[in-house]
């Protein structure tokens, strides 16, 4: 049972890293959104599995929040924004996909080396989980800097946050996991509302942050 529990947790966490890498090379908006929903579903499974093997029922709440909010509500909401803006065709990314993928692979290797070294004494389940979680966080950061579009950045931030929830769920017995996931849910809700506001309430021409560049630094 021990090794089986470990194998499943390991596989789910590894799957999240894989999907994070997939997010890096999605150039179509809808494909990006679907991949992100998949990311959230795997997170849900992963957290639910942790709840099961740690015998920590409160983690099921975190899993439920991840499923309802990030796999269903937010993708649907963003989908509607994209349709309304008519920007479903492509996403502008900074730098070529090949080099981004290479940097992404480097980040995964880096987080493995750092975390496996730093947690040498800890129990193997937590170790692997933490190493994968750090990879997801770093890949999310990388994705944030390689996306020019505000919606791309929001999705990048949410994938980063999935990594944090993964780490928190893997840290056995950690208090506040549910509270933290609720706090993040509030944050995400604000971000998505913000995207809506940008477009609908204020009638901006686009949510491409390229258009915002002119205000950076100085107003003329």
């Amino acid at each position: 049972m021990e090794t089986f529990a470990f194998d499943v947790a390991h596989m789910l966490a590894g799957l999240m890293v894989l999907i994070s890498l997939m997010l890096l090379y999605q150039v179509r908006m809808f494909a990006l959104l679907n991949t992100f929903a998949l990311h959230a579903v795997v997170l849900t499974l992963s957290v639910a599995w942790q709840a099961h093997i740690q015998d920590a029922p409160h983690l099921y709440i975190t899993a439920a929040i991840a499923l309802v909010l990030k796999a269903i509500i937010i993708p649907v909401a963003l989908h509607r924004v994209i349709v309304r803006l008519g920007i479903g065709r492509t996403i502008e990314t900074v730098g070529s996909i090949g080099s981004t993928m290479l940097i992404g692979l480097g980040l995964v290797a880096l987080s493995m080396v750092v975390m496996l070294h730093a947690t040498a004494g800890a129990d193997p389940l937590a170790r692997e989980d933490l190493a994968f979680a750090l990879s997801v966080v770093l890949l999310g950061l990388l994705m944030m800097v390689t996306r020019r579009n505000a919606i791309g950045q929001v999705i990048a931030f949410m994938s980063l946050e999935d990594g944090l929830i993964l780490a928190a769920a893997g840290a056995k017995g950690m208090p506040f996991v549910v509270e933290i996931s609720v706090a993040f849910a509030v944050l995400l809700a604000f971000i998505v509302i913000g995207v809506f506001l940008f477009r609908i309430r204020e009638r901006f021409d686009d949510v491409d942050i390229e258009a915002l560049q002119e205000y950076r630094g100085e107003r003329q």
Partner: protein, 485 residues
């Protein structure tokens, strides 16, 4: 926390309950004049309750605790919260008159002001690193909403940038917090106790040092983003420039300090483990980088609020540098500098707020001859800028002098870079000041209904501190400096 078992007065409960209740009340009360006054009253009561912490300090619980370090921050924070509320009352009255804000906006604004005070007080007195994180996130969210309150393109962009960078910072800090828990779990055991700061410090010696090292790097970068340290400072100038000016004063005078406080807590934790890396060099590097970078950047600013925002980056860099150097003298100087900077910078923003209102612009080139057209405002600004530049006999001169001399004694090379950065900034400050304060007055010479009391009260305190520091204050700060190690 139990009011019944502690009948006379519980200052900890008071500094949390007063803002929380006021936020609820202010959210539903109509009429901005009344709510502005109530806002002042609530912050005054919170400040008085915070003063009570000097006399009586409740024992630490699993969630909340107060020591000398947090008392400094709470008293300073609630004081500036109070004076800024006074300034804010006259500022928002003008904004409503010219129609930039509606009374509905203001109901939201005042409620948010109190939520912010609550979140900052909670962050400063929480004994649980998870709770501290949640409180800082709450403080960030409220300021983001207040920055975007004007709903102009630039304001929303500033709020968005603040949102994204602030979220990244807060995410990194959470990862660091989780790592600290992981380091503590094998020693303290699962559950609540492994996140209680007092318990963590007591047993830090037995934690896995490698894990603590990685954790500190995340925490330093995460909370460092909120301090406004380069290279993660990009949100700060925009947030200062596009939001209402009282919020600029709160950001510079308060929120940056709260973030520094979080960094200091974890620095103490790391210092308690002899095998972990010394946290100092990382703080020294980031601090010095911010200081020099902001010093040069000051020359390129054309917006008055952005200009002083960069000056805040410079001074937070200096504070971080001083705390990174460590030792009783540098810590003392860092603490003094942080206090003086908070007072001076918020005073400057009080002046800038009224200046921008009367001139109807924030462009530096369109603001000239202030001492002639508005003598009180103009000379207040002159005094503030002279203070922030570190001229004697004002308080910042003393703290900068202490930082520089203690650095020369220990690391002469760093001291040269430090002095260079400071001089570069001083040059920019005086260059801009001479344009703003003297010469022919630019358009917009109308009367201004300003509240001068908060500004001159702050400046008087800074002047008094530069001339004579009361022995009581010195002993108090020395205790804190020792605590910081």
């Amino acid at each position: 926390m139990n009011l019944l078992s502690n009948p006379p007065f519980d200052p900890i409960a008071a500094i949390l309950f007063i803002p929380a209740v006021s936020a609820l009340v202010l959210a539903f009360l109509p009429g901005y004049r009344l709510t502005a006054r109530l806002n002042v009253l609530a912050t005054l009561l919170t400040f008085l309750a915070a003063l009570y912490l000097l006399a009586d300090r409740p024992a630490p619980s699993a969630y909340l605790f107060v020591d000398d370090l947090s008392t400094v921050f709470v008293v300073l924070g609630t004081f500036i919260g109070f004076t800024t509320a006074v300034f804010s009352a006259s500022y928002v009255a003008h904004e409503v008159e010219i129609g930039r804000l509606t009374p509905g906006n203001l109901r939201f604004y005042h409620a948010m002001y109190q939520v912010l005070m609550f979140a900052m007080n909670l962050a400063l007195i929480s004994n649980n690193i998870g709770l501290m994180w949640v409180a800082i996130e709450l403080a960030t969210l409220t300021t983001i909403m207040m920055v975007g309150i004007y709903r102009t393109y630039a304001a929303l962009e500033a709020a968005w940038k603040y949102f994204i960078l602030g979220s990244v910072g807060i995410a990194l800090a959470l990862f660091g917090t989780i790592l600290v828990y992981m380091a503590a779990r094998p020693v303290i055991g699962e559950g609540q106790d492994a996140m209680v700061w007092t318990a963590l410090v007591a047993r830090a010696q037995y934690f896995n040092p490698d894990l603590l090292n990685v954790a500190f790097i995340f925490l330093m970068l995460g909370y460092g983003t909120k301090v406004g340290l380069a290279p993660l400072h990009a949100w700060l100038p925009d947030a200062h420039a596009e939001g209402p000016t009282p919020i600029s004063a709160i950001l510079s005078g308060l929120l940056l300090n709260v973030a520094i406080y979080a960094v200091l807590r974890f620095k103490i934790l790391l210092a308690a483990n002899s095998e972990a890396i010394a946290p100092g060099p990382l703080m020294v590097t980031l601090g010095l980088l911010s200081l020099v970078f902001a010093g040069f950047m000051l020359y390129r600013r054309r917006d008055i609020k952005r200009f002083f925002a960069y000056s805040s980056i410079e001074h937070m860099g200096l504070v971080t540098f001083a705390f990174g150097m460590g030792g009783p003298l540098a810590n003392f100087a860092g603490l003094l500098h942080m206090t003086m900077h908070s007072l001076t910078k918020s005073a400057i923003f009080f002046a800038v707020g009224h200046i921008a209102q009367v001139k109807r612009t924030q462009r530096l080139s369109e603001i000239t001859g202030l001492t002639e057209s508005h003598p009180l405002l103009g000379w207040g600004l002159v005094l503030g800028v002279v203070a922030i530049a570190g001229m004697p006999p004002l308080g910042i001169f003393m703290s900068e002098f202490l930082i520089v001399t203690s650095t020369f004694a220990r690391e002469p090379v760093l001291a040269i870079v430090l002095v260079l950065g400071l001089l570069v900034a001083v040059g920019a400050l005086f260059l801009r000041l001479s344009q703003m304060a003297f010469g022919t007055p630019s358009a917009g010479t109308g009367r201004v209904e300003a509240s001068y009391v908060p500004m001159f009260a702050h400046l008087a305190l800074v002047l008094a501190a530069g001339i004579f520091l009361p022995a009581l204050l010195v002993v108090w700060f020395q205790n804190v400096a020792r605590l910081l190690g």
